[in-house]
């Protein structure tokens, strides 16, 4: 079975598990014009991937994820799940199919009047699993998410992170092929978020479940996703492996997400700046020192950080280029010849 380990692309062609073709969704509005939340979305999600969908709030990503299990019916276009066209299914067939797609939510959406164990039992009751088997399976899942000791606690007695773990156990109860995560970590603090993301990755690697993550936080995408689609005003602005988008963002929406925000200093706004991305090979080479020595001109570093993306250390740095255009061009040329990913950045970055 294909487990979607990072960097496996091209070695084998895993089967497409979810395929969206020219999806459009329009909501009726009072004036009759209609609000188009999704415009001509096409995506292929492969079995075993952790696929991120990122966008600002209101970009349509929540609508998009609800189209995957037909909680929202698209206005036009097709959703294929394991090759089956969802629009062709009868209601009972659709109810059945939804048991192969688990879903977790920002607000956890646990049943408040049920214990953790009973919450995990819930989808099994719906699927008609016998009681003894339900409890056995629910206990096993609570064990998997590390909450075996909380089986008899009610959601009101659990922390946010624990609630989301119960929700994950519940989503996994019916052995789904796909796990949809709708802003699953947005209500959690950073350290709890990391714990929940680590659990999602573990589920992906151990159980081979395809994960589709909806988020507005680039950090979530960088932390666990293999591929990402950037959705902007209802359209897909860009999509591909996370490392590609991080190194070479093409669309404005991608640049907004990838480039550092809120950390700029206004006095540098006037000059020319360039963004250098270091991959695993070059991250430890003294690129800037070499540049200073070569051109004998001071270089102002406006921003720098290092991240782990797709298992590789990747750094980015924004430097101010000298006022002298010829010198600036020569510096850019030198950086390019070192095989670094360099691009000039302009505007409100």
């Amino acid at each position: 079975m294909y487990y979607g380990k990072r960097g496996d692309d091209g070695i084998s062609t895993p089967e497409t598990i979810v395929s969206l073709k020219n999806l459009t969704k329009t909501f009726p509005t009072a004036d009759g014009a209609g609000f188009t939340a999704l415009k001509d979305i096409s995506l292929d999600i492969k079995r075993g991937e952790i696929f991120g969908i990122i966008g600002m709030s209101g970009a349509g990503k929540s609508t998009l994820v609800r189209c995957i299990n037909y909680l929202e019916r698209p206005t036009s276009g097709t959703v294929l799940f394991q090759g089956k066209d969802l629009s062709q299914l009868s209601m009972p067939e659709l109810y059945n199919l939804r048991q192969s797609i688990g879903m977790i939510f920002q607000q956890f959406n646990l049943l408040m009047q049920r214990t953790a164990l009973q919450n995990v039992c819930f989808p099994l009751e719906i699927a008609g699993v016998e009681k003894k088997e339900r409890i056995r399976r629910a206990e096993e899942l609570l064990e998997l998410v590390g909450l075996a000791d909380k089986r008899d606690s009610y959601p009101s007695q659990l922390s946010g992170g624990q609630c989301q773990r119960v929700a994950i156990a519940r989503a996994l109860a019916t052995n789904p092929q796909v796990l949809l995560c709708d802003e699953a970590t947005s209500a959690l603090d950073p350290s709890t978020t990391r714990g929940v993301l680590a659990l999602i990755r573990e589920i992906n690697e151990k159980l081979g479940i395809t994960v589709i993550i909806i988020t507005h936080e680039m950090a979530v995408i960088e932390e666990i996703c293999h591929k990402v689609a950037i959705i902007d005003e209802g359209r897909i602005a860009e999509y591909g492996p996370v490392s590609d988008i991080f190194t070479h963002p093409k669309s404005d929406a991608a640049k907004r997400l990838v480039l550092p925000q809120g950390e700029r200093t206004d006095e540098f706004m006037g000059g020319r700046r360039c963004r250098i991305v270091f991959d695993g090979r070059s991250a430890f080479e003294p690129v800037i020192s070499n540049l200073v020595l070569e051109f004998r001109h001071p270089i102002n570093i406006l921003y720098a950080n290092t991240k782990e993306i797709d298992g590789k250390a990747v750094g980015q740095m924004i430097i101010a280029l000298p006022e002298d255009d010829r010198l600036a061009e020569r510096m850019l040329g030198s950086l390019h010849t070192q095989g670094l990913s360099v691009e000039e950045v302009t505007g409100n970055v």
């Binding site: 909680l71 939804r98 959406n109 009751e125």
Partner: protein, 220 residues
Amino acid sequence: MFDAVVAKMIGNGILETLYMTLTSTLIAYIIGLPLGVVLVVTDKDGIRPIKWINSVLNVIVNILRSIPFLILMMFVTPLTRAIIGTSLGPTATIVPLVIGSAPFIARLVESSIKEIDRGVIEAAQSMGAMPMQIIWKVLLPEARPSILVGSAIAVTTILSYSAMAGIIGGRGLGDIAIRYGYHRYDNGIMFVTVALLVVIVQVLQEVGMMIARKNDKRKK
């Protein structure tokens, strides 16, 4: 003034009032609870929107809710006679009490169910739950504490309606208060019946609230 006859009359009055109130509440819930569920489920934002059923039920509920109980009670007298055989006495009073309170209960149940977070219902739908499964496994259990609070309110409202039924010979404490306290200016009996009504309302209210609290798992 409080001889054995009066005491026995008041004792019977208490029993009749409790009989009318509790039986009517029970029957009114048998009608009002499913009605409330159907109102929520068939609503345009509900799990199974059916516009015509929703509109028809809303109109019926609104009409019944807008008739003052005193008038409704007299208005349904022919129906009461047809069902019970008489329009007098506690059993006959149950008919207008149920008709008057079932729509009110339907609204209480409706608002209790609407308190449930939409996300929880969506989560159930994402697991492939069918509308009937959502009603039985999500809507009713999750709204249970709130429905119980509603029933404490309903039972006291029905008790006050039952006192009104004294005017048309419904018996119970209300009847005694009207006949002796009001028409015969017997302030002693008036005072005692009012005090008893207050006590019964308090007891029913407290018991209802206590059961509701015990059933709610949302608090730690």
